[in-house]
């Protein structure tokens, strides 16, 4: 693509590095930026710069935060004895949006994936084990993706924390609410029968 100005070219190349953004979309973003007020563009630019310079990771759960302890870890009404292990902060947001979990989180920063060169050493498994060792954690809920990599990570962490003799569970796999059985894949349907949930547990209290 030929650009009429080096400034445009540079901005397009920068935008095109964002995930899922090609040169054409990047150019659309650049033209959009050019139509905005100078003050709005400054705000945009500053928000990104401050994001990078001022953000840090919660030293307890590795959630992204602007303080040493994130809002969840520093909230006294939340139960530090239950830890939900997730892949990244998007999963924290998704679970927080359900409003049904009142414990703490632990963000792994990925899952074990030899294909992508990610091993246990790249994840925050060690700090999780230390946290369990040091504090009175009673339950670990594994909320990782239902993929081969997710299952591998589940198993690795399970083996690591087995000596501490605490409850370990994974989130339930099964038919999504609202789904027709005929469209469900066999593995999911099979597991949903194998790991059926007693109806008495499901009556809303």
């Amino acid at each position: 693509m030929d650009f009429s100005s080096k400034l445009i070219e540079r901005a397009v190349n920068e935008f095109a590095q964002l995930p899922g953004v090609g040169k054409k979309t990047a150019l659309r973003f650049v033209l959009h930026m050019l139509k905005k007020e100078a003050s709005e563009v400054e705000n945009f630019s500053e928000a990104i710069l401050r994001l990078k310079n001022e953000i840090c990771f919660c030293k307890n759960c590795f959630n992204i935060s602007d303080k040493e302890l994130c809002d969840i870890c520093s909230n006294p009404t939340r139960d530090a004895k239950i830890i939900c292990v997730v892949q990244d902060i998007r999963d924290v947001m998704a679970i927080e949006n359900t409003g049904l979990f009142r414990g703490h989180y632990h963000i792994l920063g990925g899952i074990i994936s030899p294909m992508d060169g990610i091993g246990p050493a790249n994840l925050t498994v060690e700090p999780l084990v230390k946290k369990i060792e040091a504090t009175g954690v009673q339950e670990i809920i594994m909320a990782l993706p239902a993929t081969m990599e997710g299952e591998t990570t589940n198993f690795y962490i399970y083996k690591k924390i087995a000596p501490f003799n605490i409850a370990v569970s994974t989130i339930a796999r099964g038919i999504a609410i609202g789904d027709e059985l005929e469209y469900a894949d066999e593995v999911t349907l099979g597991r949903s029968i194998q790991f059926r949930i007693p109806y008495s547990n499901q009556i809303l209290k």
Copy 2:
């Protein structure tokens, strides 16, 4: 969506203002930014800021440029007597990529669209007429979208420059190269028969 940090929230909101970007995609962009080196993020931020502060419009054709006259208008090998009228700079790039046009451009900055509140006064029609009046332009090629708004703009500009008695054409409408006739819409197919092109004109010289 709940964010664990105000910095994240602000950056997500800024990204979500880009065309076609929602909150989820914006969050993906933000997490991508956080994984980058600080210097890369600075480059990104600076490229956008400089884009807005240093860019200007070519005073001849209204193309985006970092000089008073754009590269095309200041290129002595290009023919200033033929002007191709386009909607915005993306169209300039598309035509430049064909390598088949060696004249100048004139960027309207939009097309007449009463539904969006865009009238002739919002476009650079007046400077186009003045340019034709002042210099020895011999031909105008209208390269606007083949839509109702494009046709309206074609007609408006045609009426405005009719007194100067110069050649005015539009780019050819018809069946795209590689297309099957059976999948073409009737209007396009009909016009492609009505405005058929003598075969002798098409033999590559």
